[in-house]
């Protein structure tokens, strides 16, 4: 009987153990990024910009040249990298504390200017690295160390829907929200990531994908329950899908 390899570690993903907690979605998103870089034959031509958060060691896992940006500033650093080396493929990889809190100004203006960069945004509704503080994306009622009785709409406001905001900005070519909780969602996620990369390669503008992700440790849940929370609590508030796609005209005014 003949057999073929139906799945193996993509080559740009380092053959080493990660420091991530068991069940953490960062590992899945890393793999999707590595596969997409490999599929699009971009590996040798890529400069990544990593952010602050649990994914700060991105450069230990995805084997491409990487610049480490200060907290929230990855889109600004990526702007500089891309303008200096327009021939390179440039992406940032940012958490929700990094992108939607301290880095809100940078991400908004980078998208609005239509920088030819792509952004991988991992929304796990919490600050993971620093021990589980409230993020702008924390769901109402969700308990964190800085809102121990649960996020309250009156005092902390509503969770920010980044993909929709980014889609509303003029320079954005593609903005989508995906999830990593099921095989179906993983397949959709990979397609969306490819589109966010393609709009840069084709010079169309800024590409953005928000991944609904887990942080089992700071949610204080088992990996399985954390994964279920994506469908039960996150997707109802953070709907999946493309919010803008200039290649189909969706969301373009």
């Amino acid at each position: 009987m003949t057999e073929k390899i139906a799945f193996e570690r993509p080559k740009p993903l380092a053959d080493r153990a990660t420091h991530y907690c068991p069940g953490c979605s960062h590992g899945i998103v890393h793999r999707l990024v590595a596969e997409t870089l490999q599929d699009m034959d971009l590996v040798e031509n890529t400069i990544a910009v990593s952010a602050i958060g649990c994914s700060v060691f991105l450069y230990n896992y995805i084997m491409v040249d990487t610049v480490e940006a200060p907290h929230g500033r990855a889109p600004a650093v990526a702007t500089g990298v891309k303008r200096a080396r327009p021939d390179r493929f440039v992406f940032t990889y940012q958490g929700d504390g990094d992108l939607a809190s301290i880095g809100m100004a940078e991400i908004m203006h980078c998208a609005n200017r239509g920088e030819r960069v792509s952004v991988v945004f991992v929304n796990n509704t919490i600050y993971g690295m620093t021990g589980g503080q409230m993020a702008p994306t924390t769901l109402v009622g969700q308990k964190t160390t800085t809102c121990p009785s649960g996020r309250c709409r009156d005092s902390e406001g509503m969770p920010i829907r980044m993909a929709e905001i980014i889609a509303s900005l003029g320079g954005t070519a593609y903005a989508s929200r995906v999830a990593v909780d099921t095989i179906k969602h993983l397949n959709q996620a990979k397609k969306a990531l490819r589109k966010a990369f393609e709009v840069q390669v084709n010079g169309l503008g800024f590409g953005f994908v928000e991944f609904l992700a887990t942080c089992p440790t700071n949610w204080k849940m088992s990996s399985i329950d954390a994964n279920k929370r994506i469908a039960e609590e996150m997707i109802p508030y953070f709907p999946l899908g493309d919010f803008k796609d200039v290649t189909t005209g969706k969301g373009v005014c």
């Binding site: 003949t2 073929k4 991530y20």
Partner: protein, 91 residues
């Protein structure tokens, strides 16, 4: 027979793979790896139920699983498919 191979030392015992296997053949093994995690296995004798769908490998955050899928005799492995260059005769 399609089959999966676990890189035991990388497994963190998160059990996500056990939830997505359509045949339900992945479970805790009772073994612990050097990282100190209780790891999973395909229970002895159950590997022949593996369809090679790769669902377990796709959800694994630690890229622990390699999936080998059976190709029917005479069915060529399409050029450019993953593993094309390593498709081989097994027994």
């Amino acid at each position: 027979m399609s089959r999966v191979v676990f890189l035991k030392e990388r497994c963190k015992g998160c059990l996500l793979c056990t939830q997505v296997c359509p045949k339900g053949i992945i479970a805790l093994s009772g073994e612990m790896n050097q990282q100190g995690y209780k790891i999973v296995e395909v229970a002895p004798g159950k590997m022949e139920q593996c369809t090679g769908c790769a669902s377990c490998a796709m959800i694994c955050p630690d890229t622990v699983i390699t999936v080998y899928k059976t190709v029917k005799p005479g069915q060529p492995v399409k050029p450019g498919e993953p593993g094309e260059e390593v498709a081989r005769v097994n027994g």
